[in-house]
Amino acid sequence: MPQTLEACAPPLHPMAPRMTPVTRFIRESEEVFTFDLAPERAMPFAPGQFNMLYAFGVGEIPISISGDSKAPERLTHTIRAVGPVSAALGRLKAGDRIGLRGPFGAGWPIDAYRGFDVLLIAGGIGLAPLRPVIYWLLRHRAAYGRVGVLYGARAPDDLIFRGELDEWRRTPDFQLRVAVERAGPEWMGDVGYVTPLLSKLRFDPADTVAMICGPEVMIRATALTLEDAGVADSRIFVSMERNMKCAIGHCGHCQFGPLFICKDGPVHSYDRLRNLLACREL
């Protein structure tokens, strides 16, 4: 039961972007960057929802919102430059304008799990769509049980949100473990894959909700490990990626079995995905 915001009146031309100024641009790592957009009117969004971002004359891609849902007058996006559109977005600077459509999709159902222990497991840039949940948890810390965040990345240089990682690490009652796949001797954190670190976190599986965002192979391995630990599959949520052209359920590209990743997701509960994830090339 991922949550969606009450739909405001759908725009007359749902495919037409609103040109929106970039107000801040930060380089996170060699390949990853973050920027803020200042929409004309605040654009309320739920953690886990995404926007379609259009680079003038180049194209449009779906990008999760990585900022705080409490401050919807600023829309933060964290992007890894891998294709022509993301590369074009990576050349932006404050003051430039890009096209914006959104927010779209069903987000993380964090509000529905007050009282639960919460585990967030992120791989690579998958930390970005989960950051709004972290902000939410920090703001509503008393409403939740134990909180644990696992973040896996390729190498220390690839870590994003480094300043905040340090802050979160110092936050009381906030378990954060960062694992890189390889590191030099200066790295004092964990080295290895992210999933085994679950055993290092304290949580009560019977009352735990888990949220996973990362590559599909990581999702599969992590969901199984969580189940083995006793977390119910209906309380494991994952964010999925597929090709998307419209984000409004019309273009057909993002189908995953019966699901449209754009409107049924991107966040789905694992009990709905298990059989689909098991099938190759679905």
């Binding site: 990008i63 999760s64 990585s66 964290t78 992007i79 890894r80 791989g123 690579g124 840039i125 998958g126 970005a128 769509p129 896996g152 990345a153 390729r154 690839d158 796949e181 390889r182 590191a183 030099g184 001797p185 790295w187 004092m188 954190g189 964990d190 080295v191 290895g192 894959y193 999933t195 085994p196 290092k200 965002c213 990362g214 590559p215 599909e216 192979v217 990581m218 391995a221 964010s239 999925m240 990626e241």
Partner: protein, 154 residues
């Protein structure tokens, strides 16, 4: 050896092990304390020991010329360091270095192999404790080898 059996009893490795076996294998063990930077194992050297980490952290690493040492796994409290003592020619395939003050139980591999040979029941108990973490490490190593974080979504 009573003290060592006690230490061993509190390590997850020994969970469910009966007292006799515990006492038997404790005969091959000693308590060690490692300072940050101390090496537990050296690549290419004889692998005559393995370690149960009681407290601390150990980096498994290999040295890459012109780039320096690369850590590919950190082993922490409750886990095992060293598997090469199990298979001939008992030679360590990586370096293991304490990254913080580490307390561990060190086992004499030759001694334990002898006890396992002598009593296959003990050997089977030991195998049941070694294989799961090794298989899990293999699974994780595969994921790391795939380098899939590069394919992560946003």
């Amino acid at each position: 050896m009573k003290d060592l059996a006690d230490l061993l009893r509190h390590h997850p490795f020994a969970e469910g092990l009966d007292e006799d076996t515990l006492a038997l294998v404790a005969g091959c063990a000693k308590n060690v304390v490692l300072q940050p930077g101390d090496y537990l194992l050296r690549e290419g050297a004889a692998a005559d020991s393995f370690y149960l980490v009681r407290h601390g952290a150990v980096a498994l690493e290999t040295f890459v010329p012109a780039r320096g040492p690369f850590t590919f796994l950190t082993v922490k409290t409750g886990e095992i360091v060293g598997a090469d003592w199990l298979i001939p020619p008992y030679r360590s395939s990586f370096d293991a270095r304490a990254v913080e003050l580490t307390r561990a139980i060190a086992f004499d591999g030759k001694c334990l192999r002898g006890k396992c040979e002598a009593d296959p029941r003990v050997g089977y108990e030991m195998m049941k404790r070694f294989i799961p973490p090794l298989v899990k490490r293999l699974q994780s190593a595969r994921m790391q080898a795939l380098g899939m974080y590069d394919a992560a979504n946003a």
